[in-house]
Every structure is written in C-alpha cells, then in structure tokens.
C-alpha cells in the first residue's frame, strides 16, 4: 500500500514538474494544474469450500467493511441475516449500510465443491482501506442455519498473503428447528419449503447451531435424513489479497 502510494505521489509530482518546466521559457508564472485524486484498489480472492455431506450452501455473500458485524452471538439477528438464514437470499446482507463492497457467489455451492469469488474496493483516501472481511451463507437443508466469517481482520494482509480458516455453523434463532418439509427451502423440502418469514418463533438470539436431528435419528416429523446431518466445521475459506 505504501509503495503504491509513493509511486503515485512521485508520478504526480513528476507530471507537475515536467509540465511546469516543459512549457515555454518565456513566462515565469506557473499555471495551476488539476491533480486527480490518487485511486487505491484493494482486491481479495476468496476460495470457499463446502465441507458438508449433503448441505448445499446458498449463494455466498462476501463483504468488505470497516465497522459492524454481520451477527453477534447472544443478540438478535438483523432482518438481513434472518432473510439469508431462512431463505438463502443474500441480497439484504449485501445491501447492509456498513458494506464498502459486496459480492455474491455465482449460485448454490454444492457439498464437496469449491468456488472462487473476487471482491474489490476502490477508494481515494489512503486511510479508507478495508479493515474487515465477512462472509455468510445458509445451509439450505435446515430451518435457519448459516455459517460464515464475522469481521475477520484483514488490514495487515499484504499482497500475496492469505488467511485460511474453517467455520462453525450458527442458528439465527429466528425460526424453530422443526425440520418440517414445509419449512425447509432446500431440496430436502421438496422445492416448496418456505424461506423467509418475518415471524420469529424461536429464541430470537443468534447461537451456535445444535445440528439437525433427522427422521433417522428420532425426529419422526423431520423431512431431513441422516444424510443431512452435519458437524463443525462446515466451510473452509482462504482469503488472499491480490491487489
């Protein structure tokens, strides 16, 4: 960052000097010259791998931000997070006010698959470099389970450096884990399961997820089978700064 800054400043300075000296020598007055604000771009390449057996992940939401958190354990989920965790729709999360730059995944991220998503932020004030990275995605064969990264500090990441981590799964606390077919938006719900519902009939606090029970493990009304069970971690993530 500093080296880019110096180069830009240097070239701007050179332009100034050249234009000042390169003109005719007949005049001694220097014309004021518009120097465009330098632009900085920080880019990150994010590899996301679904580690589960049979839980497709909804299109991931990636955001760069300097403040805030997508969720806090023990506090109520935002409506944006509730929407993502119950229906898999990432649009509200990507539109959160704290988002400097956001990027959605291409589509469902199926079990065992990896996806590479790029996210960039361009800014003019050198002090406005993105400090934090967050990611969220729904485990779609659940009522309201999600996983992701919450306000990972990336401000010390140099170009070419990476951070790798795995993620645990959370319960948005906004929908009871009934596992009924009509409440599961993923394929296990038969394609007609309900997604977002503004009613909050659970504890209304974000916690770690307890896992799903399934019909094979004692919940007779469940639309889920042993195949949909999961354990932590559920995602592997690598964030590499590329610019």
């Amino acid at each position: 960052m500093i080296s880019i800054n110096k180069k830009l400043a240097l070239s701007a300075l050179t332009t100034l000097i050249l234009s000042a000296c390169g003109g005719s020598s007949s005049t001694s007055t220097m014309m004021p010259i518009e120097v465009p604000d330098p632009m900085f771009t920080y880019s990150y390449q994010v590899t996301v791998t679904n580690l589960t057996y049979a839980q497709p992940m909804s299109p991931v939401a990636l955001i760069l931000h300097n403040e805030g958190q997508l969720w806090t354990v023990g506090e109520m989920a935002s409506i944006a997070l509730e929407n993502l965790a119950e229906s898999g729709d990432n649009s509200d999360v990507l539109a959160e006010s704290m988002v400097l730059s956001g990027q959605g995944g291409a589509g469902l991220l199926l079990p065992g698959m990896s996806e590479v998503v790029d996210v960039s932020y361009t800014f003019t004030d050198v002090n406005n470099a993105p400090m934090m990275f967050s990611l969220a995605t729904m485990l779609v064969n659940t009522n309201d389970a999600f996983t992701g990264v919450n306000a990972l500090e990336i401000n010390n990441l140099a170009i070419g450096e990476s951070i790798s981590l795995t993620t645990s799964s959370y319960d948005s606390g906004t929908e009871k884990n009934s596992e009924l077919m009509a409440t599961i938006p993923g394929p296990a719900g038969g394609g007609t399961g309900e997604g977002f519902n503004a009613e909050r009939d659970d504890i209304d606090k974000v916690t770690m997820h307890s896992g799903i029970v399934s019909v094979d493990d004692g919940l007779m009304v469940s639309a889920l089978t042993q195949a949909h069970r999961f354990d932590n971690p559920t995602l592997a993530i690598m964030v590499t700064r590329t610019e």
């Binding site: 010390n156 450096e161 606390g173 596992e179 916690t207 493990d217 004692g218």
Partner: protein
C-alpha cells in the same frame, strides 16, 4: 535466531499475527521469562449453545502442576461433584494456591448469554482453567484446561468444548439425581424437557474424561428413551467462548 525467524515467516507465509506471536515468543524467551508480574485479568464466558444452561462457573488461575481435569484420566471426586451436580465447592477447596472467581453469573448462565469476572493473579499462577456443568446432561461440563495466560497485554478470544466426566451413565433421565454416584439428570432449567423416558443407556464404559458425544434426546415428551427434547437439548462443539483481557 533472527534469520531463523525470518526464514520461518518467509516459508510459511501465514497470517501476520502468527509471525507477531512467534517474534513475541522468541523475544520473551530471550529476555525475561522469570520476571512475569502479577496480572489483572478480565475473563468473559459466553454460552454459545441454543438450549443448554451452565451451572455455577469456576474460573481459576493456577500453577503448572495443578489440573482441574485431564482428558484420558479418571475424574477426581471433586470434578465428579461439579460434573454431576454443578457443585464447585470441592474443586474450589482443592485450589489452595490458585486465584479464583467462583460463580460469576450468580447461578445459571442461560443459553446465548455471557458473564464476566475480574481476576488478579499471583506470579506463579500462569495457567487458566474454567469448568461448569452443562444442564440438562448427566455429567457433561464445559472445560478449559490450563491455558497459558499471555504476559502481553491484549484481548484473547477462543472457544472451548464439552466434556463428559466419565463418571455416570448418560441415561438422559431427569430424576433430580445430582449427588455423585446418583443416576439421572438433576434438572432441565429451560423447562422444556419430558418425562417417562426408559433410559438411553445404563452403563458408562469409558470411565475417563473425554469429549462428550452429545445428547440423543427424542421427540416423545412423555415416553421414549430420553427425557430430553432432540430439537432443543442437543449441541455441537464448540459450546462456550472465553475472552480474556490481559490488562
């Protein structure tokens, strides 16, 4: 040593924080390992589960020889009292030279809530341990065993797992049995458990402290094998977050 350090950093290309930790560690090892001062700590415990309560929490800073529990070893009677009945008095009495905070939540720590305690530690008490029983379980507890307290000021946050004391069969029957050796679960504070279970198992074949395999529960509030509700009383690790601020 500097060259070794830079090579290591170059090679691993890991997070900068890690390099920082490494350099800090090297710095410490070459300078003043013996000059560790008494520390002022703020310790926060967060219950990360959706349906499990923690009984009174015991937080202790102690020396390297003291252990509240150890995986793969049999539980002490004091640990058994904590894990089966939530009684931390015997464990606390055992900690004669430790700095400790007992029951910071003044009772149960409900799901998705936090509690904190301040601790002034003596020079020799460089390790932190935290335990509390998980309800409703037979002998499940949250456990942090001898985490080395950093000498550098800062905030350190990490998660911990659920252990089974190995002292009682996980029958999942809520009988009020909280005394050591008495079968059954003392209580389900969330008030959403059932009755009439026939018992998930009557034996505890692994008598050593181990990672808890989780509760089974069932969907029959008046019968079945378990008195626990399988949509409420299960959990996945991790179960608690510990945040330590070294002032």
């Amino acid at each position: 040593m500097n060259m070794l350090l830079s090579q290591t950093v170059e090679k691993t290309k890991k997070i900068k924080n890690k390099a920082l930790l490494l350099s800090t560690a090297l710095l410490l090892s070459t300078t003043s390992i013996t000059q560790v001062q008494a520390q002022e700590l703020d310790i926060q415990v967060t219950n990360l589960t959706q349906g499990i309560h923690f009984t009174p929490i015991l937080i202790a800073a102690h020396d390297g020889d003291t252990k509240l529990f150890k995986s793969g070893e049999m539980a002490s009677m004091a640990l058994q009292m904590m894990a089966e009945g939530g009684d931390i008095s015997a464990l606390s009495a055992m900690l004669t030279t430790a700095d400790k905070a007992e029951n910071p939540a003044m009772g149960l720590l409900a799901p998705a809530t936090s509690t904190s305690a301040m601790l002034s530690t003596m020079d020799s008490n460089m390790y932190l341990s935290v335990v509390a029983m998980m309800l409703p379980t037979n002998d499940g507890f949250i456990g942090l065993n001898s985490w080395k307290i950093p000498s550098e000021a800062g905030t350190y946050s990490f998660t911990i797992n659920a252990y089974d004391a190995g002292t009682e069969a996980n029958d999942e029957m809520i009988t009020g049995g909280g005394a050591p050796g008495a079968a059954g679960i003392p209580a389900a504070p969330g008030m959403n458990a059932g009755t009439g279970g026939t018992g998930v198992t009557m034996t505890e074949d692994n008598a050593y402290v181990h990672i808890h395999r989780g509760s089974l529960g069932d969907d029959d509030l008046t019968g079945g094998k378990s008195d626990l509700d399988n949509t409420v009383h299960r959990w996945l690790n991790p179960v608690a977050r510990i945040t330590v601020t070294v002032n």
